[in-house]
Each structure stands twice: as C-alpha cells, then as structure tokens.
Amino acid sequence: MKRCFLFIIAVLGMMFLSFSACDGILEGIYDYPVADDRNEFGFIKNDPSTHSGTIYIDATDYRRWIFIDFHTQKIDSINVTNSEQKEPEEWDVAIHRYDAKTHNGAVLETGYTGLVALQNAGVMPEGIYVEDVWTTDKIAVDMSGMMDGNIVYAESYFNEELSKWLNVDKSNMPPAYIPSNKVYMVRLKDGTYAALRLTNYMNDSGVKGFMTIDYIYPFEL
C-alpha cells in the first residue's frame, strides 16, 4: 500500500509539474542572446598599442554596401538601388552581404588562421596579390525572383580573393556557410597593409549577415 501511495504521489507530482509548464519545460538549457546586445556597429574594439581591433557591421541588407575606412576608423554605407546615394570618397574595404571589394587595393590569402600567429611569424606573407574585377553577376541586390531564375545583380567591382573568407556552398539548399578562418592581407591604395580575419558572419542569435572582422592596421614589421 505504501508503494502504491508513493507511486501515485510521484505520478501526480509529474502531472502537476507538467501542467504548471503549459508552454514547455527546461527552457533554461538554451541560450537567449539579446538580438541587439551589440547594437554598436563600426570599430567596436581598438588597441592602439598593437594597432589591432574588431569591426562589427550589419551587412544583412542585400541592397547595401558597407564601407570601411581604416585610416579614420569609420564606416559608412549606401543603398545601391538608390542612384542618389554615392560612394564615400575615402574608404579602404567594402562589404556587401559576404562579398568584399577594395578601393584600388589588392588582397592575398595567407596560410595563417589567426592574427597573433601572423604577428608572431615576424615576416610579411608572400604571394600574388589579387586585384578587384568588374562583375555583373556577383552582387545580388534583389533575391525575390530567385525561384524563377531572375536574381537582380548590381554591376560592381568585386574582390574574389577577400570574398573567399566565407564559402557559401550552394550544393545543398539552403546553402552551407563555411568560413575559411584565414588571415587576408589587404594592400591599400596608399601602399599600407591591413590584416583581416572574418571571425563570424552571424550575430549572437544566429542571424546571418552580421560580420565580425578582426584586424591589424597598419600591419608593419
């Protein structure tokens, strides 16, 4: 009888536990990052002693280029579908979704997977620096016709080397996003060098298009 009583108590306890959680249980096992917990965009971290820092930008909008100026540590943006908006005069690297271009610069993909490793190596990476190319089918600004094969592209310069920082593998749909995790050397138009590494393409809630880029500028030996 005692066992029966204990059993019924256990069963009733389980029932009430469940009833008290109409909308579910164990929500504590999940993370709840606040979507705008990093609502500051731009050069969010900067250490002048090492010339290094972190850039965080919102590149979720297909119609928008985000311009990064390492010299002034400022970002700017324009809507490419709005002809009245013009590119800023001074910028070094620009980002559209995961696409990248330079301002008359060139890019080298290094074998390093961290900025510290690059610094510790103490040598300037060698290789062929790749300049931008003019494209008509890379910068998608309107995806709404995709199912009918009618993606709208904007004509633009595009740097294939720097854009390797995130491989959007479309062999399965939806695509898989594979970061290269590598450090890219960007030779700017004034001959100075920036070392960049894409550390995340999502915000803390998993929304794609929020780019976190670690950098060293100027990169000097």
Partner: protein, 718 residues
C-alpha cells in the same frame, strides 16, 4: 489447560492447512508442431495478471493457482497461434500444450483499427502488422527504413533543407497520423514529424491502417494511421544490448533493461546512433552536379531514452507512467549544428469494473524543440517549440460478450513558438473532441462497425464531424471488407499564423481563414487465408477536399497558405505471402496509385504509380544455432510529371521524369548461441548509383556493408 493448548494448536494447524490444500499446481511443457520445446512461451490467467509465468530452457512451466476455482489459461508465443485452455474446478497436474505456427500473423492482436484489442483476422478495418521479428529481418533503425522495406506505396524523400518528407500513396506527412502506443507526437518540420524519434529498438509491433480514420483519431488521420506499439517485459527480468557498425561510420547501439517485481514492471530503453556526412558528389566536377537537388547527406547523431513503469494495483487496476527524452544533432555546417529535442511523459490508468466494462484515463505531455547550436558564439538558441498537453478518456462496454461500444473524449492544449512567426512569437489553441463507436458482431461471420467523432478547434473555431462505417463478411477462407470513412485535418497554428521571410526571396504568410482538409475514403478488400498462404487485394478511392498548401498571392507578393480544389486519389494493393515448414518464406506486395489533380493547382503529383516490395527468406533454428537469410527488395516505377517553371504562376510547365529504381538488401542473421545473434547486411546489393540526385533519389553511392550483434543477457545465462 493442556487441552485448551491442544485445541488452539489444532485450529492453527487447520488454518495453515486450508490455504495449502486450496493451492494447486499446474505444470507441463509447451511444444511446437515438431515437438520442439518453446522457450519463453507466456502462460497467463485471464483477469489475474499476477499469476502468469513463462517456460524455461526446456519449455517447461509451473503455475501455482491460489484456489480451486475455474480459470482461463492463455498460452502464447511470438509467431505462434495462442491457445486458451479452461482449467476446471480443482484440476491439477500436468498439461502439455502444442502451439501451431502462425504462418501469416493472423493471430496477432491489434488495436489501431478499432481501439480495442482484436485478432488481426477478426478486425473489420484492414490492418497491416509488422512484427518485431520482421523488424529484425529488415535491420531497420527508424520507422522510415522499416516502412519503405515492408510496404509498397511508401516513399520517404528529401524536401528543402534535407528534411525528410513522406508520401504514402498520395498522402503527405501531415495526412498520415503517427502514434506511439496510441499517443500523438508533437512537432513537425515541413509538415513531417521527426521520424528519427520512432526508433525500432524495443518495438513489439507496428500497426498500419491505410485510409481515413478520423472517426477514431481526429485530425491528420486522412491517409492512414501508423501506430508503434512498445514491447513490455513478460519475464522476471530481461536485458538486451545490441550494436551495429556500417559504412560512413554508421554506428547504432541500443540497450534495454526490463523487470517484473511484484506489482511493478519496468522497461528502460536507450539507443544511440551516429553517422558521418555522406558526400555523393565525390570525384565529380561541378558541371556534372550543378543541377542536383543535393550533393551530400549531413552527418548526425541521436540519443533516445525511454522509460515505462507499470504498477498493477490489483486485477482491476493498472497504472502506467512513462518518460522519454530524444536528442538529435545534425552537422549542418562547420559553424552551425541543428539540434532537435523532445521531452515526453505521461500517466495512464486502466480500470476494469468487470469483464464488460473498462475505463482508461490518460494524461500526456510532449514537447518538441528545435535550436541552432552556433559554434562561434557557443550559443544554443531555440527557435521552435511545440508543446502539447493532452487528457484522454476512453470507455468500453461489451454487450453479450461480443458487441463493443466505445466512448471517448480528449482535450488538448497545443502551444507553438516558432521562428516562422513574426518576431519569433507564439500561439496556442485548445482542441476538444468526443467520439463513439459500435462494433456489432451480428454473427460469427458478419461484423458491422460504425463510428462518429466530433472535433472542436478553439482558434479556428472549427466544428467537424467524422463518420465511419465498416462491414466484414467471412465466407470460407475468405474475408471481405468494405468501408467508408471520413478524413479530416485541421489547419495548424503554423498554417494560420506564419509570417516568414524566406531568405529574402519571398515571404510565406499564414491564413487564419483556412478551412479544414476533408476526405471521403471508400475501400474494398478481399483476404484469402489458407494454411501457409495469404492473399489480400484492396482497392480504394479518396475524394480529398480543401487540401492546404502554399500558393503565390499577387496581392501579397508572396506565398500564402490556401485551400485548393478537390483531389482524387485512387489505387489498389495486392499482398501475397507464403511460409513453409522447411523454413522458406516469401512475401510480395504491390501498390498502384493514381493521383488526379486538376491543372493549374499549386500542387503537382510526384507520386510514383507502381511500387512493390518483396522478401524471400530462409529461416531455420537448431538447439544452439539459428540461421536466417532474408533478401528484401523494393521497386519504384518512374514518374512523369509537369513542373511549374515559375514560382508565381501556375501556367507554364516543363516535363520532368524521375527515374525508376530498385533497391535490394541481403541480411544474414545467425543465432550463435541462445540469446546471441550476429547479423551481416549488404545494402544496395546490386550497386545502384543514381546518375543525378533528385529529392526523391535514394541517397546511396553504391553497395555498403554493416555488421551487428545483439545479446539477450538473460537468455545467455539460462
């Protein structure tokens, strides 16, 4: 004083002797037709659940009966026709039993067609049963593997995001109701439940009722019901461990511990699986694979833990409690993993007032969550949760020992939080239903079953009646069945309230004004059983109205859920099986399906018209060695269809042909000792490799091998 003491002693002795003299022992041996003892056969006394026993390694049993009353003894063994024996007043001594093999599984007790236990041969609704033995022969991990191997007309394909999608003779995943021990499952992805939850470890049998069954089960039972029945332990204790290793690092491990101790009985089952990513495009150039629907199959791993505890308070009352946990992690990309979790639990009480009246009350909880595990941020972010609380009542009254009246009612609270709602919001609704069914056994040969169910959905304010009428007539070795059944599927919260940005390509909107899907299902079947042969022919016709799907809305410039015009689905199925005493057995099943959808509708049929499954096996058992060789084959015809060339228009089409293919699996299973079984499997025996991968192509790169071991620890030490 001495005289008084003598008298007291005498009375005490008498009191002690009375119960001893009343107790009697029945013992004997249970044999098969070849006079071989059957080990582990179950002997149970009707209405006295605590008095049962099982046969030992020599097939012997011993039953202690507490008094000299009359008892009904049932002797059963899996794969054999059960026998019922009346133990007369004061009868004692030896009784041997000889069980005949149930060559065509007709002595299996099923519950899904009527919600009351009936022998398969007597159930008025056509029911297909897949037994535990057949599950072993197919070497299935989850229900998808099993159903495809056993039933024609079933195809599990991929849909977007490599999510699994069912087509059962023209009916999709949301029109086929999946149950576990009669309980619904929460959660869905692209209209399909998570089939990985239905693992095949520790399953007693699976019952499949094709056609509408909403008069008993309500929403979703439009195209059929699949009910997974869990195994319970009948022995004092039982332990099984099993493992399998195959290509692509495909690993499966399972363990079950069960015991019967006094009034308690428990079964705990744990299963773990894992498989690596399968690269289908390996060695091919992008030009060759550019138009493939998928080029790799994601690797994943699952954990499935289930516990069921039964307390038999007395011969009238039984309480059951269960809890379960399921976890699946899919390797979506180097930065993301998709996680799927389910937490379930329930309590159920069964009370038998007398042999004619039985009541069941149950509470059930099921929560299915989806989350993204972001490796860079190390965050596990939940973006979907479906929580269902259900309370069920169910009452049976038997008239004149043969007619059964069933009454029932359910209440469910359905909560859904989803990334597909605006701002990751949530919605909930209440569902209330009541149903009645009368199973009228007019004569031994003629049965009529009629039922009606009413469902109410609070959010959509839907009131719906689902009827059913079934007839069965037995003549000679033939059973003829005819049925009309109404099917019904209420619009889900997702379909009513979705507001989802599809990767900036288009929006998908819900529609709160959706009408429920309905169907009228007519079926006729003839079953012929003679000795070792079984032949069943079934024909069906479905009129499906208001099917819910997404369609382009020019006004909203996006996809919106809508009801479409009537669809007609008709077809036929033939099943033939034979089993011989020498150990040879064969089964052939063929299904034809014709789906008639008017042109210009947002949906297009991709149902393959002809499908077949076949199994040829040889099974022989000796004292310490057993051999089973099973060859399973599956044939799917090609399907020609017209597909729309535009997302926003249903006018221009292009012709598509999905090729036919056959898939064969050879399984060699050996009993190397009592309780120990080793199996070797060759999958895709004839090395079929699709030239390109459509969503409905088999995800294979050719022949693969796997090896498995299963140990029944309790039998090893007997």
């Amino acid at each position: 004083m001495q005289k008084i003491l003598k008298n007291v002693c005498l009375i005490c002795c008498c009191l002690m002797v009375i119960p001893i003299s009343a107790q009697r022992i029945i013992s004997g041996t249970v044999f098969d037709e070849n006079k071989e003892p059957l080990i582990g056969a179950t002997l149970s006394i009707k209405g006295k659940t605590t008095l049962g026993t099982t046969t030992d390694a020599q097939g012997k049993y011993m039953l202690k009966l507490p008094n000299n009353n009359e008892y009904l003894l049932k002797v059963s063994y899996i794969g054999y026709i059960s026998q019922t024996y009346k133990i007369s007043v004061a009868q004692a001594g030896e009784i041997d039993f000889l069980l005949k093999e149930d060559a065509v599984n007709m002595a299996t007790v099923v519950v899904t067609g009527t919600r009351t236990p009936k022998l398969l041969k007597d159930v008025p609704i056509v029911t297909r049963v897949i037994t535990a033995d057949e599950i072993k022969k197919v070497d299935a991990t989850h229900i998808g593997d099993l159903l495809q191997a056993e039933l024609p007309g079933i195809e599990f394909s991929y849909s977007m995001d490599q999510q699994v999608s069912l087509n059962m003779q023209g009916f999709g995943g949301n029109a086929v109701l999946f149950l576990v021990d009669g309980e619904r499952l929460a959660g869905e992805t692209l209209d399909n439940i998570d089939y990985n939850r239905l693992n095949m470890d520790n399953v007693e049998r699976i019952e499949i009722v094709k056609g509408a069954a909403s008069s008993l089960y309500g929403s979703n039972a439009v195209g059929g019901v699949v009910n997974v029945i869990s195994k319970m332990v009948t022995k004092p204790w039982a332990v099984n461990i099993n493992g399998r290793y195959g290509a692509y690092n495909d690993q499966r491990y399972g363990g079950t511990i069960g015991f019967n101790a006094g009034k308690f009985s428990s079964v705990t089952n744990v299963q773990h699986t894992q498989v690596d990513e399968k690269n289908l495009a390996d060695g091919k150039m992008d030009e060759e694979t550019g138009d493939w629907a998928f080029k790799k199959v994601y690797g994943d791993r699952t954990w499935n833990v289930k516990e069921r505890l039964i307390y038999t308070a007395n011969d009238r009352m039984k309480l059951t409690a269960r809890v379960g946990y399921f976890f699946r992690e899919r390797d979506k990309s180097p930065t993301n993993k998709d996680r799927y979790r389910d937490f379930s639990g329930g309590v159920k009480g069964n009370y038998m007032f007398d042999t004619a009246n039985e009541l069941e009350i149950a509470y059930s909880f099921d929560q299915y969550d989806k989350s993204d595990y972001l490796l860079q941020a190390v965050h596990d972010v939940r973006d979907y949760s479906n929580v269902q609380h259900s309370v069920r009542t169910f009452y049976n009254h038997t008239f004149a020992d043969k007619h059964i009246l069933t009454l029932g009612g359910d209440y469910m609270r359905d909560y859904l939080m989803s990334y597909q709602f605006a701002d990751n919001g949530s919605k909930y609704q209440y569902i209330v239903d009541g149903f009645a069914q009368f199973d009228w056994n007019l004569t031994k040969y003629f049965n009529v079953i009629a039922g009606l169910r009413f469902d109410y959905y609070s959010d959509s304010d839907i009131n719906h009646f689902s009827p059913k009428l079934g007839l069965m007539y037995k003549v000679g070795n033939c059973s003829l069945r005819g049925a009309y059944a109404g099917g019904f599927r209420a619009p889900t919260l997702k379909e009513m309230y979705m507001s989802f940005d599809m990767a900036s390509i288009f929006m998908i909107y819900g529609n709160p004004d959706l009408k429920p899907e309905t169907s009228h299902n007519f079926s006729l079947s003839a079953e012929y059983i003679k000795g070792r042969y079984n032949l069943t022919v079934t024909g069906f016709y479905n009129m499906v109205g208001n099917r819910i799907t997404t369609a382009w809305s020019e006004a909203l410039k996006g996809q919106v859920y809508t009801n479409i015009s009537n669809i007609r689905i008709s077809g036929a199925e033939v099943n033939a099986s034979a089993k011989y005493s020498c150990g040879l057995a064969a089964r052939l099943s063929y299904a034809y399906t014709y789906e008639n959808i008017k042109k210009g509708q947002p949906v297009i049929s991709t149902t393959r018209p002809h499908t077949a499954t076949v199994r040829v096996e040889y099974d022989k058992n000796w004292k310490n060695y057993g051999l089973n060789i099973a060859l399973n084959g599956r044939f799917l015809s090609k399907v020609n269809t017209e597909e729309y060339t535009s997302n926003a228009s249903y006018e221009e089409t292009e012709t598509m042909t999905y090729p036919a293919y056959t898939m064969w699996k050879l399984i060699l299973s050996q009993k190397i000792w009592e309780g120990a079984r080793v199996s070797l499997t060759v999958d895709n025996l004839f090395n079929y490799v699709p030239s390109r991968y459509y969503n409905n192509s088999p995800a294979t790169r050719g022949t693969t091998f796997s090896a498995g071991l299963s140990l029944d620890i309790d039998r090893l030490f007997k």
